[in-house]
């Protein structure tokens, strides 16, 4: 595996509360280009909030997030949307695929959002589906594919536009262990091949085995960061 070097994305002093609940409290992190980082912690510890803040989905109450030298918190909504569209990819626990679109159209969606015409977008999407071994469900709707196939479609969607960081929130949480292993293998291999950094939110320790590094979150605080390999 290629070892990561300089920080591509980092956050310092992040705080976020929901009503009276403190989800993040003075959290700092950094992600290097091409690095695979597992964000670990029990349910409700604040790891998903950390991911969403890091990805520019949620704005922290305080603190700073910098991506490639740019202050994400200071960006306008449109700039953050463009950043997520171009530089970031996402894989959610339940895929969050658009149920009405076919799997192929779902994979092509990030490209279509960027203005790529339908045919070239779907051609590139088809390549990614082949790479993730889900070509057979290309014409089906997500509801007609199995859970494992759906997550692989979601991974293809998260990587099709060549992002620099993929945020994966419990990508195997809804899968059985066999399918989960397979999905993780495919995600990590594709990310490494493409040189994409992956932020992997999970509460499963076995998932951490695929990461270069772990960030452990408990009660809204980062307890420790350790090298896995």
């Amino acid at each position: 595996m290629t070892r990561p070097t300089a920080s591509l994305l980092f956050g310092t002093g992040l705080c976020k509360t929901y009503g009276s609940t403190r989800a993040l409290e003075d959290v700092s992190f950094h992600i290097r280009a091409g690095e695979i980082v597992a964000v670990m912690g029990p349910s409700g510890s604040g790891k998903s909030t950390l991911l969403q803040c890091a990805a520019g989905i949620l704005a922290p109450d305080s603190g700073r997030i910098v991506y490639d030298g740019r202050d994400v918190v200071a960006m306008s909504d449109a700039e953050r949307s463009a950043l997520r569209r171009r530089d970031f990819g996402f894989v959610f626990q339940f895929g969050q695929l658009v149920p009405e679109l076919t799997c192929l159209e779902n994979v092509a969606l990030p490209l279509r959002l960027e203005g790529v015409a339908r045919r070239p977008a779907e051609a590139r999407a088809a390549q990614w589906m082949e790479r993730l071994e889900v070509s057979d469900v290309a014409g089906k709707r997500p509801g007609e594919a199995s859970g494992g196939q759906g997550q692989r479609v979601a991974i293809a969607r998260g990587l099709v536009h060549h992002p620099r960081v993929v945020f994966a929130d419990e990508p195997t949480g809804a899968l059985d262990s066999l399918n989960g292993e397979r999905v993780l293998q495919l995600l990590v291999r594709a990310a490494v091949d493409e040189g994409v950094a992956v932020v992997l939110v999970t509460h499963e320790t076995r998932v951490a085995a695929y990461a270069h590094r772990e960030i452990v979150v408990r009660d809204g605080r980062v307890r420790d960061t350790e090298q896995v390999s």
Binding site: G89, L113, R118
Partner: protein, 758 residues
């Protein structure tokens, strides 16, 4: 039974104790159902409102016909209707002159006004105190001494007065209906047993009722399904705890019952709360007193029981498409399963068959036609989901991303979008039917008056105020604002044998202008005839006329002219020098007036001059529309506004509801960087595509039903395309407007925070 009660009770408890979400859902449904119930109560009040209006009209009316048996007495009076118009507003006036100390008092008037005074309705009082009242004051030279209260008015917006006028003479009683007056000893008439509407007008009324009620039913149906996804998830959780499928249905029924019962209560409260404001809402010449807006016990009971029953039925029907399992909710894959056409097409076919059968029967069968129309219009609602599904299946997923997202969503979930536009489609179809019937009814209810208005557009006749002759009348009218030309004749009533004849005396310029006489010099006499009467004229040159007590032999030189216009009465025309000076009989004058349509308020200036001269003005039109038809047109305006408001609300609420159901997906799309404009356009297309299909179907059904009904009524089928286009544009505008209003909600939902599940 106990189990039923227990499950229904659990549903009721879940609806009110299921936390904030459950309350919001129950409240939304209650408000939606409440609005529908309010509309139903308002619709149910229409018969009572119409009856109250009719009762008031009858109670204040009087038999304005000559009544020789009624002699002046202590309890009689002379009364004369003097309806007038100012700025296009109709004002009802009655002049009165008591014969004795105990004259009858009209409803709404506590004390009769003395001579020179009047009592007025509140609306007229307001008008008189406004700048516009200045145009009316010259015709109402009475001081105001009181008000007419509700009992004497058809509505709070009616303009009316009773004025004491000592100038009324016994002639009023003698001439009776000819001058709109009579000697009376009471107010109030016994109306005919029933006023039968012409068959086509009856059909028109039926269509209005159907077009009004169907969208309300659709709206209530949509309101009952608010938030049903969340309810289904809740039911799945209950299944996990051991409830079977039948129990979940009963629990769902309990939830629906509570929401609908609350809706009935909300609707009742909204209805009661709105009553005080009813008198502030006036449309055209229609206005209503709050006390008249009574839905009646039977209708109220039907609504109070029917709406909750319908709520349970709709819920059970909706649950047919959902399989609630302990581990979640599965919606039947309607996208992959084609909707069946056969039962959907049965309704419009049955409706058309009923209409055709009515067309073939010898007499118009009201219930059959009404049932046929209802089935066909409801058929539009049942056909639309099939049509939308079939059409979007063929659209493919090409095109720009918003289009693709919309088409794909419609392919998967066309039912909800179809529901959204069903109301529009039914209303538009009904409106097209109405438009066609109105076009036909206009032809039937508009009577050609046969009047040529190219030269003069108004006249004013009668016996002028003492001391004024034709010349003075002519000068006064000529000096009136907006009068381009005035021609005045002095008229005498004469007889030839047992034939009555009018002798009209005027100068040559008038005769040339009004009768088309080419050669005329003072002293000439003419017999004027309508073209069809020329051969059968009862009077000829040389015949002797009796005018009053004098006699006059028509000169041998009398020419017969065929009148080239309809303004003048046929009879004898003569110039001043040709008319014997020995005749001193009572005369009247008739002024023929050319009115400039571009002069503001010209008509009111003419009316004021006529009033000052003691003449009765009349404005000529080429057509006259029957009173029943005008009444239907007024009701139609009210119904159209109500339905448009309801459809707009229905669309808005349904669209917002659909968007809320997609909250998580929308948040995920935003998370991956989707633009707001992309999703906004997608929402627009999701509404616009079914709407376009709905309108197309509405056109087809509306024109078809309209053609059938016209055939039933034995009328030629004519399509009023301009009207149809206007209705379609209106329906489209309502949809576009409500889509625009739903965008703020969409944008609020397009926040990535929606992803947060913990």
């Amino acid at each position: 039974m106990t189990r039923w009660a227990r499950d229904l009770g659990l549903g009721l408890r879940l609806a009110c104790s299921g936390g904030r979400d459950a309350w919001i859902r129950t409240a939304l449904t209650a408000v939606g159902v409440g609005i529908g119930v309010m509309m139903l109560l308002a619709a149910a009040s229409l018969p009572a409102m119409q009856q109250a209006r009719r009762d008031r009209l009858n109670a204040r009316d009087a038999a304005f016909i000559a009544n020789d048996e009624l002699t002046p007495g202590p309890n009689t009076m002379l009364a004369k209707l003097v309806d007038m118009t100012v700025l296009g507003i109709a004002v009802r006036g009655v002049l009165i002159k008591p014969d004795g100390p105990n004259p009858p008092t009209p409803p709404g008037v506590s004390t009769l006004p003395p001579a020179g005074a009047m009592v007025v309705s509140p609306a007229l009082a307001e008008l008189l105190s406004s700048p516009a009242g200045e145009l009316l004051k010259p015709r109402l030279p009475y001081r105001t001494v009181g008000r007419i209260d509700a009992a004497g008015l058809t509505g709070p917006g009616e303009y009316a007065f009773y004025a004491g006028d000592s100038r009324l003479t016994d002639d009023v009683a003698a001439q009776g209906s000819a001058v709109g007056g009579a000697r009376i000893d009471h107010f109030g008439v016994h109306p005919p047993a029933s006023v039968l509407l012409a068959p086509i007008l009856l059909l028109l009324t039926l269509v209005i009722v159907v077009v009004l009620l169907v969208p309300i039913a659709i709206f209530v149906g949509a309101a009952i399904r608010f938030g049903d996804e969340r309810r289904d998830r809740r039911l799945a959780a209950i299944r996990l705890l051991g409830a079977d499928a039948a129990m979940t249905r009963r629990i769902a029924a309990g939830e629906a019952l509570l929401a609908a019962a609350l809706g009935v209560a909300v609707g009742g409260l909204l209805f009661i709360a709105g009553l005080p404001f009813v008198d502030r809402v006036g449309l055209a010449s229609l206005s209503f007193f709050p006390a008249d807006v009574r839905p009646g016990t039977l209708y109220s009971a039907l609504i109070a029981l029917g709406v909750p029953a319908a709520a349970v039925a709709v819920t059970q029907l909706a649950l047919r498409r959902v399989i609630i399992e302990p581990l979640g909710v599965v919606r039947r894959a309607v996208a992959t399963k084609r909707r069946r056409l056969w039962w959907r097409i049965l309704l419009p076919i049955a409706g058309a068959a009923m209409l055709l059968s009515a067309a073939n029967s010898t007499s118009a069968d009201g219930p059959l036609i009404a049932a046929g129309m209802i089935l066909t219009l409801v058929g539009v609602a049942t056909l639309l989901p099939w049509l939308v599904q079939a059409a979007v299946r063929g659209l493919g997923g090409g095109g720009r991303l918003p289009w693709q997202l919309a088409v794909r969503r419609l392919q998967a979930h066309s039912a909800s979008s179809s529901r959204v536009v069903n109301g529009v489609a039914v209303a538009a179809a009904g409106a097209i039917v109405l438009q066609m019937l109105l076009t036909a009814a206009t032809g039937l209810s508009t009577i050609s008056t046969g009047v040529d208005i190219t030269r003069t557009q108004a006249n004013a006749g009668g016996t002028p105020t003492a001391g004024l002759d034709a010349g003075a009348v002519q000068s006064r009218f000529a000096a009136t604002d907006g009068v381009r030309g005035a021609y005045v004749t002095t008229n005498y009533d004469g007889t030839i044998g047992d034939q009555t004849v009018t002798v009209q005396v005027a100068d040559c310029p008038t005769l040339r202008a009004m009768a088309g006489v080419e050669r005329c010099s003072d002293g000439d006499t003419f017999i004027v005839s309508r073209p069809r009467d020329t051969e059968t004229l009862p009077y000829r040159p040389g015949q002797r006329l009796t005018v009053g007590a004098a006699h006059w032999t028509l000169p041998a030189t009398t020419q017969i002219v065929v009148m080239n216009g309809d303004e003048l009465l046929p009879g004898i025309l003569t110039t001043p020098a040709g008319f014997p000076r020995s005749i001193t009989a009572q005369s009247s004058v008739m002024a023929y007036l050319s009115v400039d349509p571009n002069t503001p308020d010209a008509a009111d200036h003419v009316r004021n001059t006529a009033f000052a001269l003691g003449l009765e003005p009349r404005f000529l039109t080429t057509t006259a529309v029957s009173a029943s038809f005008q009444s239907i047109q007024r009701w139609l305006t009210v119904a159209a506004i109500v339905v448009l408001l309801l459809i707009g609300l229905s669309l808005l609420v349904s669209t917002v509801e659909q968007l809320s159901q997609q909250r998580k997906l929308l948040a995920a799309l935003v998370a991956v960087g989707a633009r707001r404009s992309t999703l906004s356009w997608s929402v627009f297309w999701q509404t616009a595509i079914p709407m376009a299909l709905g309108i197309a179907l509405a056109c087809f059904a509306g024109l078809g039903v309209g053609a059938l009904i016209l055939t039933v009524a034995g009328q030629p089928v004519r399509f009023g395309w301009a009207g149809v286009s206007a209705i379609l544009a209106g329906a489209a505008a309502v949809t576009l407007l409500t889509t625009a209003l739903s965008l703020p909600v969409l944008w609020r939902l397009l926040r990535p925070e929606g992803l947060r599940a913990e």
